[in-house]
């Protein structure tokens, strides 16, 4: 028997090193952790954020204990020395691939490759990196469902950072659904539950909108009535003044 990820050997026995679900592959026993930080792995496509700029590189936050430099030479652009800010600045979101990780965990990333780019617009949110497989689902079933039902562009990085874009209402639904998946990642049959959840959320939002319109209408009516009353009173005033004048005469 061998120890897989999340487990360790002590003598002949395998012990878990973290809280999670047992997974046996052949003679290897591992544990899929329930929580934990993202550890960069070569080949992963991640959603990063520019947190620092140097004359020749950007420093990318990977939602991990380790940050990675993105040199100008690893981008599709020809970046002259000192001109990094022309292409990207602090706070920009990028989709990059982990190129290499060395023994002291210095990470190299690249933006050269299909689908790798700087993203414009949209929103990002961070989820627990251990829940990413659940968020994507087997063969991308969950993420496909999310995209279809929320009508958002969604991109899930292996590091647990999600970039998405859509209307404000759709984004609200998408964020709610992703949080719900994160909180219930250990449950079975989540895909159906998510579909229901999204429907429920949409219904609630629709009900709220109708309610809002109704109150608006009521307010408008009220305003009209108020106006009428006011005018009638004004008219009365004028008439009473006229009467007084007449009496004096």
């Amino acid at each position: 028997m061998k120890a897989g990820p999340g487990a360790f050997m002590d003598g002949e026995s395998v012990f878990s090193s973290c809280l999670g679900i047992k997974s046996i592959r052949g003679d290897t026993v591992g544990v899929i952790p329930i929580s934990g930080k993202y550890m960069p792995r070569v080949g992963d496509i991640v959603v990063g954020k520019v947190i620092e700029m140097t004359p020749s590189a950007w420093v990318i936050d990977l939602n991990s204990p380790y940050v990675a430099p993105l040199p100008g030479s690893e981008t599709p652009w020809t970046v002259d020395f000192g001109e990094t800010s022309k292409y990207m600045s602090l706070g920009d979101t990028v989709i990059v691939q982990i190129k290499d990780v060395n023994e002291i965990r210095r990470v190299g990333v690249t933006m050269m490759g299909p689908d790798l780019r700087k993203v414009v617009g949209g929103q990002t949110m961070d989820v627990d990196a251990t829940k990413v497989p659940r968020l994507i689902g087997r063969g991308g079933s969950m993420i496909g469902l999310l995209k279809r039902l929320t009508r958002c562009h969604i991109m899930v990085g292996q590091n647990g950072r999600v970039w998405m874009d859509g209307t404000v209402e759709d984004l609200t639904v998408a964020m709610g659904a992703i949080r719900m998946i994160e909180q219930n990642a250990h449950r079975m049959g989540l895909t159906d539950a998510v579909a229901n959840f999204i429907q429920g959320m949409r219904d609630r939002m629709e009900a709220k909108r109708v309610q809002r319109e109704k109150t608006n209408e009521a307010a408008e009516e009220q305003a009209i009535m108020k106006d009428r009353v006011q005018r009638a009173e004004e008219l009365k005033d004028v008439q009473s003044k006229d009467n007084m004048k007449n009496e004096e005469e």
């Binding site: 999340g6 487990a7 360790f8 002590d10 026995s13 395998v14 012990f15 878990s16 090193s17 973290c18 809280l19 999670g20 679900i21 047992k22 997974s23 046996i24 026993v29 544990v31 899929i32 952790p33 329930i34 929580s35 934990g36 930080k37 496509i45 204990p65 380790y66 940050v67 989709i95 023994e103 002291i104 965990r105 689908d115 993203v119 251990t130 990413v132 497989p133 659940r134 994507i136 689902g137 087997r138 063969g139 991308g140 079933s141 969950m142 993420i143 496909g144 995209k147 562009h153 969604i154 991109m155 899930v156 990085g157 292996q158 970039w163 250990h186 449950r187 079975m188 989540l190 895909t191």
Partner: protein, 293 residues
């Protein structure tokens, strides 16, 4: 300890303690995992009148930079007592005592966390004592260990901690405030239950050899029990584990103190056989390519 002579009896004539506990009986303990939303991992422990909150962040980048170790992670524990945790207001901020406790807790956890898996990072453990009634460092370690597991930090084992002491020439387990203040000695301990290795062993006051062995025996039994509570708290994550009635340690058959192995559970914290019965991971838990935009 200090040795303020007590005016009232701490040990009753029937051999029980003044609060009614047997000499080897613990105060009621509850452990709750995952109580804080913003921390990576957290736990809340009530232990008699003690109330301790532990929060874990990390592994994360080390600040200041010069503390970082290129070969492994460092563990930075911070033990802090709230100003309202004791009857006389405690001046807030680190003092000599809390600095010492922070240091020994950091060192204890550095020995259980797989630090070599996270070079150049720090694992920050914050222990906040909200209410103190003796034995807060033990409650703190117990809570911190659950918080570490909740944060998903890989560890060799959970770390239970407990103290025994001497009151009126009698060795007792888990001193409360009165016993601690008026007692003669105190022995906090933390171990790796699976191997019986010591992570923390302090002694304040004097024990004879026999008393020390007895105190350690009480501690080992208590630690085993606390260890089970910790596992239960994690298994029921986000649910409180509660003791229905005060825990009474089983009467000892014979003093087998010098063989700590005899007192120790031989299984890991989450040994494979110990796992939930669902079998393997849920079907959708496969690591797939990221969903393209």
């Amino acid at each position: 300890m200090g040795g303020t002579a007590s005016t009232h009896k701490l040990i009753r004539k029937d051999g029980k303690r003044y609060d009614g506990r047997a000499v080897d009986e613990l105060r009621p303990i509850t452990i709750q995992a995952g109580v804080l939303k913003r921390a990576d991992g957290s736990a809340y422990v009530t232990w008699g009148e003690n109330k301790v909150l532990a929060a874990v962040y990390g592994p994360r980048e080390v600040h200041p930079r010069h503390l970082q170790n290129p070969a492994r992670a460092i563990v930075q524990a911070k033990y802090n007592m709230a100003s309202f945790s004791v009857s006389e207001r405690k001046r807030p901020g680190p003092d000599r005592r809390s600095q010492e406790i922070s240091k020994i807790i950091s060192e204890a956890f550095e020995a259980v966390v797989f630090v070599e898996q996270f070079p150049r990072t720090t694992v920050d453990v914050y222990i906040e004592v909200l209410q103190a009634d003796a034995g807060t460092r033990c409650a703190g370690i117990t809570a911190a260990s659950v918080a570490l597991a909740d944060a998903g930090v890989p560890m060799k084992d959970l770390v239970p901690s407990c103290a025994a002491g001497k009151v009126e020439e009698t060795v007792v387990c888990d001193l409360n405030k009165e016993e601690d203040n008026c007692g003669e000695a105190d022995l906090p301990m933390a171990i790796i239950p699976r191997t019986g290795e010591f992570l923390l062993l302090q002694m304040d006051g004097h024990f004879t050899y026999d008393e020390l062995m007895k105190a350690m025996e009480y501690n080992f039994k208590a630690l085993n029990y606390i260890y089970k509570l910790q596992k239960e708290a994690l298994r029921k994550k986000y649910a409180t584990v509660q003791l229905e009635e005060p825990f009474v340690l089983p009467k000892r058959e014979e003093p087998t103190v010098l063989e700590p192995e005899a007192n120790i559970v031989r299984e890991g914290p989450m040994a494979p056989s110990d796992e939930p019965q669902q079998g393997d991971a849920p079907p959708e838990m496969s690591r797939d390519s990221p969903g393209g935009a």
